[in-house]
Assembly symmetry: C2
Homo-oligomer: 319 residues x 2
């Protein structure tokens, strides 16, 4: 009936997406404690920090200190984000697990507004990044398409536009002698619906049947987990998400800046449908409460309040 | 590929589910204003009040005053809830649109804890209700199955248990010479997943292919809209929901009491997938802000913060 995957891999985005948007300040020790707690739940990947201009994003000024201080759990990838060569250099000076990616937007207007580059300029920029990664010995495994479902400047993005951008990314990878493992599609500003996810995944699969697909979904308009479920039904097995729904507090007036889908809500949904995540849900719920204590205001996660069902299952015959 | 319905009918539960759980007090005039605003959005049914013991639910002590004061919109059904004959008598003295239903729980333990009646006693009680409705000239159109997906006392509810309860309800209807229009399945305590929705709807459809199905979903663990989408894919075209997610504030420590799925988030999801709801989303978002102003604390709805997309679509070529 469906192609639900047996196992889903989740990249936790909370420490980076969350702590860079919080009005803060968040203590460095709290960030480290939160990252270590997340890595202890069984999550395979935790994005820890972004190496961005500390004058523009003061909440990430301690990125090096955080990255250098984490007590590492074996088998967990600790990743970071950078937007320019200066940021990459800073990341390289830390023990983080650096991965390159080829990054484009499906909306040219968004690209211009976001990075001041049109499509052709973005292609040139990505070539420079590929050269930099090669020189630094950093593996490039994934392509990423931002605004893959819609954009507040150009409206809904048709799937053939997404396919064209994926083709450009695949060409860039070929030219650079890089074999991409997969392609990630981001609902950057909350336009996705389950039907749109089906169309985009379907169109990409038709042309590149063996390409792994990842989804980076935001919950701007409440459809985040419905969109994730649409992906799961098509066998999508990689998702980015944020513990407690960190990364855009809907109660702080960040209009349209709602965070990623909530990690523990996603883990609950998967595990209850028989899809393994490798994550200890109760430990993750503890992390969500820790996140709320750290930021000092309510976060939008639901399972952290409703609770998991494993204890009830364990004591009921109906389990 | 899917059986998405062309049109969905939504019963708004916010005024009743929301205002009875709020610590309050909520002014009677605010309740009336909110109900009138909701009825002005195109919602076909608004559940306004419950006629319950004012000593146990002080927030509903003004049920008659609210019901008597609403300025009625033509074509809108204004409904109410009662739990005993005294409540029904009170409802009959108001101009509300009264509908009877046959109500059972799929979990006997829940039934005993909730109403102090086992299955056999519930059947007898429903017979008394059917007689009371007949005597009062109140139409009985729907059956309702509570805890249709799981229960905190008995654990997960298997679909064949739900089918057995539906069969009991159908027998009760037959005996009373009532032809039911459809059957509503409630995820009373937040156990549903999309896969569980598919299993329950599938099992019921197999036995009663022509029975209309409605879903009353709570968003206790964040999967509410994913569960609604699973229903939509199967052609389910009736949902209960609450404006702004009223009806269990996740930020007030009502553990496990998360409200219904959020009406404007559901309307957004439907309309974006091409399913008509007849509801003006922008007017409904105004209602959600009104609800928040009335209760005086943040409510969990997302679209009320992220905003709809119609204005962007109207001004973009990509729309």
């Amino acid at each position: 009936m469906t192609d639900l995957p047996k196992h889903v891999e989740i990249q936790e985005e909370g420490p980076r997406e969350g702590f860079q948007i919080e009005p803060g300040p968040i203590a460095t020790a709290d960030k480290i404690r939160f990252i270590e707690a997340l890595a202890g739940t069984g999550l395979p990947k935790v994005q820890c920090v972004s190496f961005v201009n500390p004058r523009r994003v003061p909440g990430m000024a301690d990125a090096e200190e955080v990255a250098n201080s984490i007590r590492r759990e074996p088998g967990v990838q600790y990743t970071g984000l950078w937007l320019n060569l200066k940021g990459l250099e800073r990341a390289q000076a830390t023990p983080l697990d650096l991965k390159g990616r080829i990054l484009m937007s499906a909306s040219e207007t968004f690209s211009i507004r976001n990075s001041n580059r049109n499509m052709a300029e973005t292609v040139d920029e990505q070539k420079r990044w590929l050269a930099a990664y090669r020189q630094a010995g950093i593996a490039v495994e994934w392509g990423s398409v931002m605004t893959a479902f819609g954009c507040n400047f150009e409206g809904a993005v048709p799937p053939d536009r997404v396919v064209a951008v994926v083709a450009t990314i695949m060409d860039l990878a070929d030219e650079a002698d890089v074999t991409l493992k997969g392609m990630s599609f981001a609902d950057t500003v909350g336009w996705a619906t389950p039907v749109a996810v089906e169309r985009v995944v379907g169109a990409v699969r038709e042309r590149w049947p063996d390409l792994e697909i990842a989804l980076h979904l935001h919950d701007t308009r409440g459809a985040g987990l419905a969109n994730a479920y649409a992906g799961l039904r098509l066998g999508v097995a990689r998702f980015d998400s944020s513990c407690a729904g960190l990364g855009g507090c809907p109660f702080a007036g960040h209009k349209g800046a709602a965070g990623n889908i909530c990690t523990e809500d996603l883990v609950f949904l998967c595990e209850e449908m028989g899809i393994e995540t490798g994550v200890d849900l109760d430990a993750l719920i503890d992390c969500a409460h820790l996140a709320e204590a750290i930021v000092g205001h309510p976060l939008p996660g639901k399972v952290m309040r409703g609770g998991g069902l494993s204890a009830i299952r364990a004591r009921t015959a109906g389990g």
